[in-house]
């Protein structure tokens, strides 16, 4: 997705949901995430384990473990503090994410939850269809 000089990132739409591109840094490597859902109904942010494997990110003995119970069944996730998560010029350092298989029947790389949106003081502009600070 293009980014203009103000660091404003367009919000795309799929399945009636708002999607953005994000960049995640961990292990000294960065991974570009497309199709990240903006979800004010999610307290935390979760990303695809497959994408995280691309930058060598997997669970370690220090990580906290969770079991998520949802409408599609149950799924194990672990939480990890990554170097940074960025959407346009919104960027949070030492951000804690959850990582899981995310097999929910359609393709997306992650969920940008309220934790990120609040820390980044993000403005969601559904008139211009952009996310910005």
């Amino acid at each position: 997705m293009a980014r203009n000089s103000l660091g404003v990132v367009p919000i795309g739409r799929q399945y009636g949901l708002p999607f953005v591109n994000a960049t995640l840094l961990a292990n000294g490597l960065s991974v570009a995430l497309s199709n990240v859902i903006i979800d004010t109904g999610s307290a935390s942010s979760i990303f695809s384990a497959d994408k995280m494997l691309d930058i060598g990110l997997f669970c370690s003995a220090e990580d906290q473990l969770f079991i998520i119970s949802g409408v599609v069944g149950e799924e194990y996730v672990f939480s990890k503090t990554i170097h940074s998560l960025g959407v346009g010029n919104l960027s949070i350092l030492d951000f804690k994410i959850e990582v899981g298989a995310m097999d929910y029947g359609f393709q997306f790389d992650g969920i940008l939850g309220m934790d990120f949106l609040l820390l980044a003081k993000a403005t969601l502009d559904f008139k211009q269809m952009v996310i910005k600070d």
Binding site: L17, A49, I68, V71, E74, Y76
Partner: protein, 91 residues
């Protein structure tokens, strides 16, 4: 690939120190927002965390009803917190 039935995380830690294990919870229960694993079966072990994670993902995708985990045995207590997810509603 090693295979064994084990009854507790302590036993697994003793048997497979310093590595990753993919295991299935054979029986578990909930207690005050925590998932307590009563007995588990080790499905595979791996020194390499990336391979262990791949193995977990493969097995999870074969049967999503199985309660599977991938954990490093340096972890003293599993300490699994339960979270509710109400889901995303698609158009």
């Amino acid at each position: 690939m090693p295979k064994s039935l084990a009854h507790s995380w302590e036993e697994v830690r003793d048997t497979y120190p310093n590595q990753f294990v993919v295991f299935e919870a054979l029986s578990s229960h909930s207690l005050e927002n925590k998932r307590i694993i009563d007995s588990l079966e080790v499905i595979s072990t791996n020194i390499d965390g990336k391979q262990a994670m791949k193995e977990y993902l493969k097995l999870h995708r074969i049967d999503k009803k199985k309660e599977l985990y991938v954990v490093h045995t340096d972890k003293q207590n599993l300490d699994i917190t339960e979270k509710k997810w109400l889901g995303i509603r698609l158009a």
